[in-house]
């Protein structure tokens, strides 16, 4: 009973638009987790912007009452970076899937980690392109066989937490959609932490990956406390099987933020363009 009196219930952050996700989709829980986290943080919808790319999970801004931008495939992070730089008072949450974030937007993921702008990036990872009928994504296991990838891709999967750590993300965590309250706490912690916060959320696709229903039996809380030492975090990732939940890393890097005051007087700049 030690929770803050937020004044707003999670339902206040849900719009009237009914999600079109498949019944049973993990993304419903992530939506619930986001709204609970915002209520826990004591924020108001107009203080939050949710930016997404393309994909099933990227529909999420429409399902909230926050400001939203459903943008270009793989380009949620650049749009969110610009927004946060221009409107630093907003809490900016970026949301999307594994295809949008690690493949089409993979390069932006690296540089968002490196730049360390104060964003919270939530990736709903289901190891498949659900919206386009089940093609393998960067996080698909090499042996996953389907009609669209008979015998599997045979290609090693992408390891998002490893890449995030190596690229400089200041907060790294993993959640599971089957634990929306746990996810809500992770998201709230990620939002509170300064700099670029990355939360990978395992979110089963019940339509194209019904095997992922078994994830609920595989996930477990990581048996270690978060660390602020990247070398220690890296060693932990060496033995990570992808199902350890919780905060892996909380760095101390100062977030990037441009000076709010002009560094050069306008008249001085004008001289540069004098003919």
């Amino acid at each position: 009973m030690n929770a803050p009196d937020t004044g707003l219930a999670p339902q206040s952050f849900k719009s009237d638009i009914k999600p079109v996700w498949c019944p049973g989709c993990g993304d419903f829980s992530v939506l619930a987790a986001i709204t609970r986290a915002l209520a826990m943080l004591g924020l108001r919808p107009e203080e939050v912007a949710i930016v997404s790319g393309i994909g099933c999970s990227s529909r999420i801004p429409a399902y909230t009452t926050c400001y939203g931008f459903h943008g270009v495939h793989g380009r949620a992070l650049p749009a969110a970076t610009g927004l946060k730089i221009a409107r630093p008072e907003l809490t900016v949450i970026v949301a999307g899937g594994d295809g949008d974030g690690y493949s089409i937007g993979g390069n932006h993921f690296l540089h968002a980690c490196r730049r360390n702008v104060d964003l919270t990036y939530l990736v709903m990872d289901n190891h498949v392109y659900g919206m386009t009928k089940g093609q393998p994504s960067p996080t698909t296991e090499p042996g996953w066989s389907s009609k669209l990838a008979p015998g599997g891709t045979g290609v090693r999967e992408f390891h998002p937490l490893v890449v995030a750590l190596a690229s400089g993300a200041n907060f790294i965590a993993r959640g599971f959609s089957g634990d929306p309250n746990g996810c809500a706490r992770l998201i709230a912690e990620a939002v509170r932490h300064p700099g670029f916060s990355f939360v990978e959320i395992l979110s089963p696709c019940v339509t194209f990956r019904p095997d992922q229903r078994a994830w609920k039996d595989l996930v477990r809380p990581a048996p270690v406390e978060p660390t602020d030492d990247p070398a220690r975090a890296a060693r932990r990732l060496m033995t990570d099987d992808g199902f350890n939940l919780g905060i892996l890393y909380k760095g101390r890097r100062a977030p990037y933020a441009p000076a709010r005051e002009p560094r050069t007087a306008l008249a001085e700049l004008a001289k540069e363009f004098a003919l």
Partner: protein, 200 residues
């Protein structure tokens, strides 16, 4: 502040009527509650409101996926749980929701009476929806029974929890009766002649 028959799950033919009758007889005495009792009732309220919201979300999903029969059933369940939550507010003389409800921690991933989102299927039948409701009631009973059994629980809360556990058992009985009157789903109930998945 007795809790007996605070709520009842509906029967199949006239689902709302028995619940409404019982609700009408719900206790209206308002005794000063101890802090422990208030905390316990806030937790009970959280269970009800969370279950109501989840059933409402399930109803939305079924509407979106053109399964009106199951949508209607989930909507009924949402209304029932919402009424129970309201009853707790009235009984406790709380003008509105107790603030910490959404930040309470649980040993389970969600409050015990809340169904996991992965339990739905777009072709599910009403029988499946009731099976979900039954599992919710069973989890709720285990939760309350555990509180009632725990030696750490204050005596007045133990009594409340035991009553709640008994209610949940009664709800299970009603749901089982309801399920028995519904047709069992065919073995191939989930088969879709035009499936969304190209995969195996």
């Amino acid at each position: 502040m007795t809790r007996r028959n605070r709520k009842a799950k509906p029967a199949a033919r006239a689902p709302e009527r028995p619940a409404a009758k019982r609700a009408a007889r719900a206790p209206t005495r308002r005794r000063p509650a101890s802090k422990a009792s208030e905390e316990f009732m806030a937790r009970a309220y959280a269970m009800e409101i969370d279950a109501a919201e989840r059933y409402g979300e399930f109803a939305d999903q079924m509407e979106v996926h053109n399964n009106p029969e199951v949508a209607k059933l989930f909507r009924q369940l949402a209304e029932i749980e919402g009424r129970h939550a309201k009853q707790i507010l009235e009984e406790m003389n709380w003008p509105q929701m107790p603030p910490p409800v959404y930040a309470l921690e649980w040993r389970t991933p969600e409050p015990p009476e809340t169904a996991p989102v992965t339990e739905l299927h777009y072709r599910m039948r009403p029988w499946h929806a009731l099976a979900i409701a039954l599992r919710n009631e069973e989890r709720a009973e285990r939760f309350f029974a555990g509180v009632a059994r725990s030696p750490k629980t204050p005596r007045e809360v133990r009594k409340l929890a035991a009553e709640m556990a008994e209610e949940e058992r009664e709800h299970q009985r009603l749901i089982r009766e309801w399920m028995a009157r519904l047709p069992q789903p065919a073995p191939d109930w989930s088969r879709d002649p035009d499936p969304p998945a190209l995969g195996d």
